[in-house]
C-alpha cells in the first residue's frame, strides 16, 4: 500500500494567448488546465496505486478556480483533494512551498509526486522546496519510475561498473556510485530513470521521496464519464492559508514570509515583420545565406 500525494497547479491552457491588463494577466474567457507536467505526475500516482494499492491525494495551492483542476484530478482517479486557498498568499515560491509543506507533512506520504515545472511561472522551484522542508530526497525529471521492495532493490544487478556501448549505440558511463548498500535502510525504494538534458540517468532512492515528472513518463488518461460522476462525491477540502500558521498571515511568519516580489509585468518585445525570400529553391538557399551574413550578421 502506498500513500501518494500529488502536487498540482492549475495553469492557462498552453494554446491560450496571454493578454496583459493593468491588474495582471487577463483571465477573462481563458481556458484553464492541470499543468501538463502535473498531469504526468497524477497519472504516475494512479499507476503506482493500481500496482501497489493505496491512496492518491491531490493537493493544489491556488485561487477558487483551482477547484476545477482538483475536481478533474478526482474524476481522473484521485481519491481525495485538498486546496490551499492561495488567494491571500503572497505570490512567491518560498511562501507557497511553506504552505504546501504544512499541508503535506501530516499526510505522511510514501511518495510525493509533482511536475518538473509549471508552464506558467516556469520556475520549477516549489516542489523541490517542499521536499527540502520535509527532509525528503528527490529524483527529478523522471521518465520512468518503479517502486521496489527492500528485497527487490537488493536484488538489482551491480551498478554502473561497465563503460561501453549501449543497445542504441549510445555510450554508457561508469559514473555509478553503487546500489542499495550505499543508501539508508528503507522499506521501499524507487528506481527512477531521469532525463538530464537528453541523457538518461538511472538512480535508486529510498522512499519516502519526491519524484518530479518529465514529459514522456507516461500517457495521461482522460476523465471518464463514470469518473466524473464519482468525483462529485469524493472529498475536496479547502484549507484557509491562515489556518496553517495558527491564524497568522504568511507574511508575518518567519519561515513563510515572501522572499521575492513581482515589480512589473510586461509583454515580450514585438518582432519586426520578416521578409519572404523569393525565387527557385536554389536561389532561395543562396539568398538566405547571403541575408544571414550581410543583414543578420550571422555565420
Amino acid at each position: 500500500m502506498l500513500k501518494i500525494v500529488v502536487l498540482l497547479k492549475q495553469t492557462f491552457d498552453t494554446e491560450e494567448k496571454i493578454v496583459l491588463s493593468p491588474s495582471g494577466v487577463n483571465e477573462q474567457g481563458a481556458k484553464f488546465i492541470i499543468n501538463p507536467y502535473d498531469e504526468y505526475a497524477l497519472e504516475e500516482a494512479l499507476r503506482q496505486r493500481e500496482k501497489h494499492g493505496g491512496q492518491v491525494i491531490a493537493v493544489a495551492c491556488g485561487p477558487e478556480r483551482s477547484q476545477e483542476a482538483l475536481r478533474t484530478a478526482l474524476a481522473i482517479g484521485a481519491d481525495e483533494a485538498i486546496r490551499v486557498d492561495g488567494s491571500s498568499l503572497p505570490d512567491d515560491g518560498f511562501t507557497v512551498a511553506g504552505a504546501l509543506a504544512k499541508v503535506v507533512e501530516p499526510l505522511q506520504p510514501d511518495l510525493l509526486l509533482a511536475g518538473l515545472f509549471a508552464v506558467d511561472s516556469g520556475a520549477g522551484s516549489v516542489a523541490l522546496q517542499v521536499a527540502q522542508r520535509l527532509g525528503l530526497p528527490h529524483a527529478s525529471a523522471a521518465v520512468k519510475a518503479t517502486v521496489l521492495t527492500k528485497a527487490e532493490a537488493a536484488a538489482l544487478p551491480a551498478a554502473g561498473g561497465s563503460k561501453g556501448q549501449g543497445a542504441g549505440g549510445e555510450s554508457v558511463s561508469a559514473s555509478g556510485n553503487g546500489g542499495v548498500s550505499v543508501l539508508p535502510q528503507a522499506e521501499r525504494y524507487a528506481l527512477v530513470e531521469r532525463d538530464i538534458e537528453g541523457d538518461t540517468e538511472t538512480v535508486l532512492i529510498p522512499l519516502p521521496a519526491l519524484i518530479t515528472a518529465q514529459q514522456g513518463l507516461n500517457e495521461p488518461r482522460y476523465p471518464s464519464l463514470p469518473g466524473i460522476m464519482k468525483a462529485k462525491k469524493k472529498p475536496l477540502r479547502t484549507v484557509d492559508a491562515s489556518e496553517l500558521w495558527g491564524g497568522a498571515a504568511a507574511a508575518s511568519v518567519a519561515d513563510a514570509a515572501p522572499r521575492t516580489q513581482r515589480t512589473q509585468l510586461f509583454p515580450p518585445p514585438p518582432r519586426a515583420a520578416g521578409k519572404l525570400v523569393p525565387g527557385e529553391p536554389s536561389e532561395q538557399a543562396a539568398a538566405l545565406v547571403h541575408l544571414l551574413r550581410s543583414e543578420a550578421k550571422l555565420l
Partner: protein, 330 residues
C-alpha cells in the same frame, strides 16, 4: 553598494559550461566594483584547469570541493558542498545556471537557507539611485515577462538561463589576483545511488546552450526525415530540436521538444523546418535572435515571427541550404 556573490560553476565532462561564465559575469555585475566574487567547483580528482579558467575571467576566490562522492550526481553531496561554501563565504547571493543540475540544487539551497529563489533569469537591471535590482524572467515560456526583485533581509538564490547574459570578460594576466582554496565539507548520508548514465546525446550540445537550433515539425514526416536537418545543424555547429507535433507523431524523442511544454531556447539563429507555429511552440522559440522559417504553407503562423521566410518544400530547400553553407565555409 558592494556585495559578496557566490557562483556555482558547473562543469560537464571535465570542462566548465559556458553558463558558468555567464553566471560569473552576472556575479561581477551584482557584486559591484568593490564587491567580491567567489566561485565553487565540485569535482572528484582535481579541477585545476577549471579553477584557472575562472580566475582568468575575474573570480576573486575559487573554492574547490573535491571528493569521490561528487563523481556521480548525488544531489545530497552537491548540496553539502554548496552548503559548506555558503557557510564559508556568507554570500549576499548565490548564482547557478538554470540547467538540469542548477534547477535541482537552487530550490533546495533556497529552502535550506531561508533564501528567495528567482529562477530562469534572462536579464538583470542594476539598481538605480538606491532602488532594487530587477531580475527579468519569462512567464508562460515567453508569452509575457516579469521583473522580480528580492525583499530585504534574506540571501538571494538566482538561476540564470543559458545563452542570455554576457559572459565574464577575460582579465589581463597582470591584473589577476584571485586565489584558489580547498573547500572542506562533510559528505552526508547519501540518498541517491546513481546506477548508470546513458549518453544518448553523444556529448552533443544541449539545446538550451546551442547558438544555432534547427528544428523540425510534422512536415518532416518521419524519423528519417530529420536527417537533412541534422546535416544542416552539423554544418552550422548547432543542435536539432522538434515541435510537439513531431514528438507526438513519434518522429523523435521528447527530449528534443521545444515549446511551452518542453524546452525554451534562445539561440542566435533558429531555423524552423516544416513547423506550422502553434502558440505553444512559438512560446518556446520566439525570443531567438534571428528566426528562419521553411514551410510549404504560406499562411503558416510561423512566418509571423520569422525574420526570413522560405515558402517551399523543406526536403528540397534544406539540403540546398546545407550545400550553400558548405560552399561558403570552404
Amino acid at each position: 553598494m558592494s556585495k559578496t556573490i557566490l557562483v556555482f560553476a558547473e562543469s560537464r565532462d571535465g570542462a566548465l559550461r559556458r553558463v558558468a561564465f555567464e553566471a560569473l559575469g552576472a556575479a561581477r555585475q551584482l557584486a559591484g566594483k568593490d564587491g567580491a566574487v567567489h566561485a565553487v567547483l565540485a569535482c572528484s580528482g582535481g579541477a585545476a584547469d577549471e579553477a584557472a579558467a575562472l580566475l582568468a575571467r575575474g573570480a576573486d576566490v575559487v573554492h574547490i570541493a573535491d571528493d569521490p562522492a561528487l563523481r556521480a550526481f548525488a544531489p545530497e553531496a552537491y548540496l553539502a558542498a554548496l552548503g559548506a561554501a555558503m557557510a564559508a563565504v556568507r554570500p549576499d547571493a548565490l548564482l547557478l545556471g538554470h540547467t538540469a543540475m542548477g534547477r535541482e540544487l537552487a530550490p533546495r539551497v533556497a529552502a535550506a537557507h531561508g533564501a528567495g529563489h528567482i529562477a530562469d533569469v534572462t536579464a538583470i537591471e542594476p539598481s538605480a539611485d538606491g532602488g532594487d535590482v530587477g531580475f527579468i524572467r519569462p512567464l508562460y515560456a515567453g508569452k509575457a515577462f516579469e521583473r522580480r526583485s528580492f525583499l530585504p533581509g534574506h540571501p538571494w538564490v538566482i538561476t540564470v538561463r543559458p545563452n542570455n547574459l554576457p559572459a565574464a570578460e577575460p582579465v589581463d594576466a597582470a591584473e589577476r589576483k584571485g586565489t584558489v582554496q580547498a573547500l572542506p565539507f562533510t559528505v552526508p548520508a547519501l540518498y541517491t545511488a546513481v546506477r548508470s548514465l546513458v549518453r544518448r546525446t553523444g556529448g552533443k550540445l544541449d539545446l538550451a546552450e546551442a547558438d544555432v537550433v534547427v528544428s523540425g515539425g510534422r512536415g518532416v514526416r518521419s524519423a528519417a526525415g530529420f536527417e537533412p536537418l541534422q546535416a544542416l545543424a552539423g554544418v552550422l555547429g548547432g543542435a536539432v530540436g522538434a515541435s510537439r507535433g513531431a514528438c507526438d507523431a513519434g518522429y523523435c524523442d521528447y527530449a528534443l521538444q521545444i515549446g511551452q511544454t518542453g524546452k525554451v531556447v534562445t539561440p542566435q539563429l533558429y531555423i524552423a523546418c516544416g513547423i506550422s507555429g502553434a502558440i505553444q511552440h512559438l512560446a518556446g522559440m520566439s525570443q531567438s535572435r534571428v528566426i528562419v522559417a521553411i514551410n510549404k504553407d504560406p499562411d503558416a503562423p510561423i512566418f509571423g515571427v520569422a525574420d526570413y521566410g522560405i515558402v517551399g518544400d523543406l526536403f528540397e530547400v534544406v539540403p540546398l541550404l546545407t550545400a550553400e553553407l558548405q560552399r561558403a565555409q570552404a
